[in-house]
Symmetry: C2
Subunit: 308 residues, 2 copies
């Protein structure tokens, strides 16, 4: 199960009615935050969530609307008694940018770990045994920028009949289901002895601040939820979108339409402050990709495995 | 006339229902912001104000809840087409702190000027001819911290009879009223020839993040409005207040009570996140100083000269 929440849906500057774009992904009681602009910690408190369980903060890039809330967030995590280290991930320069911002948050009761992205694609796992893999993929903005795809694995089905037939003791079943190798009564049992082939898991892909790219199409493919920037609803803002290296709604929807297999669902986010009613353009956008809707602040979805 | 607005009244961290403590003082269409924590620019937009006219930003100190909103505010000022320089004022280290934070706001369409405070008291005028004088006074917090007192001068009354009696041409009256020396028909006229003694102006004093100090009593004296931190309402939090170098409501009210002359009105601000209902302590606080009330986000007051 993956819990996904768009904490905010604004681009460029925070507005009284629209927080800056930020994504919270929660899995097994832990949380991964993507981007942290000014006010993100307030948006999170509005949902009633403590900042304590955030194990990882991913940054798409270092424009202020995606990172200006970091010092306050780190301090609030400290005030919420966080002591375990926090992993920060982002394009090259991460540690330098964070060090600079920490001029106003020099003392924290937890350590910071850094993973700077250097390749076009990099995959890494969440600390711990969550089964959640994160892939960072390079996109095309005015500065070095990445999208993120979250993949939650699902093991194959446990075959009790096979386990019984092989005389595997009952006490070994649970660790085997968890993928662990077990030794009992002088015999060693491995998961492949009782587990079917891995089943389809869950996939969420998130990208903002980019022109359309093949990398986005690749990671939108087969996603249960594809969240993508849509800076401008009006088609006549295409030149502006190109100039500022953003996308129109139509361009974003085109990415989902070209993905194979297409994503099950798509949300738009990172609306320009000039877009007071992003919803007014969505019908036209749905002609390009029917399962696209506008994100809104606090929009959440719980994604479950297919037959759960 | 001075327009005063408490944009937020929270201390330590921004909450969904309470922005971080920040003061806006407006005078003749220009604005002075004191402190700029995370979300201050949103609180300002809620009032419907553009960040463009902010000529001066004063900082009490550099704890994150008083400055973390600066990079976003500067960028928003740029987006609002600000091109005139902005004066930043604060304790020693100002330029270094601002430079560090500007790692995410490196390019601005206006210049920044710095005034670092080194003395226990420093008075300076707003750029331009506003008649507004600002005094920074040292207070007592865990780090170097200042309060600010705003004084708007008021010229004496213009005596038309004296002007006529001295044969001063009508065209000279207005510049003389403005305090200018004028030459006409070979004669030189000075303001003292037609103006009475200066009249009582307006005074607003603002201080937050401090233990009680004689300097605060001094600048609270004779204020039309005295705005002071009150971190804790409960008297049994006195030890905590001492430890964290803040004040209880009672301590804050005691400062106003000791001022001579006492301030006309007092607002409390910078409430601890643990204080959900600061108003519930105000009756007891008014036993110490009757004209004290709690500030709230967006609380405004227009101060006018006595007989205007």
């Amino acid at each position: 199960m993956l819990d996904v929440c768009l904490l905010g849906t604004g681009g460029m500057m925070p507005l009284p009615y629209r927080w800056l774009t930020s994504l919270m992904v929660r899995c097994n009681g832990r949380a991964i935050l993507t981007d942290c602009g000014e006010g993100t910690q307030i948006a999170m408190k509005k949902k009633g969530w403590s900042p304590n369980p955030i194990d990882v903060i991913l940054f798409t890039h270092y424009h202020a609307d995606h990172i200006s809330g970091l010092p306050g967030m780190l301090l609030s995590m400290g005030n919420a008694d966080r002591t375990e280290p926090v992993l920060l991930v982002g394009p090259k320069g991460l540690e330098k940018v964070v060090d600079s911002l920490r001029v106003i948050a020099p003392e924290l009761p937890f350590g910071l770990q850094y993973r700077e992205l250097n390749e076009n694609e990099e995959t890494f796992d969440l600390p711990g045994d969550s089964g959640l893999h994160i892939t960072a993929f390079h996109v095309n903005h005015r500065v070095n920028c990445y999208g993120y795809s979250f993949r939650l694995d699902r093991a194959g089905r446990f075959d009790a009949e096979r386990a019984k037939a092989q005389g595997i003791p009952l006490a070994c079943w649970n660790p085997l289901q968890k993928g662990q190798t077990v030794t009992a009564g002088g015999r060693t049992f491995t998961p492949d002895m009782v587990m079917g082939p891995p089943r389809r898991g869950l996939k969420v892909t998130y990208t903002t601040d980019s022109r359309p790219t093949p990398s986005i199409v690749k990671y939108a493919s087969g996603a249960d939820l594809f969240i993508c920037e849509g800076m401008y609803g009006e088609e006549d803002k295409l030149d502006k979108a190109k100039d500022k290296k953003h996308m129109t709604f139509a361009e974003a929807a085109g990415l989902a339409a070209r993905a194979n297999p297409q994503p099950k669902e798509m949300w738009l986010t990172h609306f320009s402050p000039s877009e007071n009613h992003p919803d007014s353009y969505i019908k036209d956008t749905q002609k390009i990709f029917p399962r696209v809707t506008c994100g809104w602040d606090g929009r959440s979805k719980t994604l479950r495995f297919a037959d759960e």
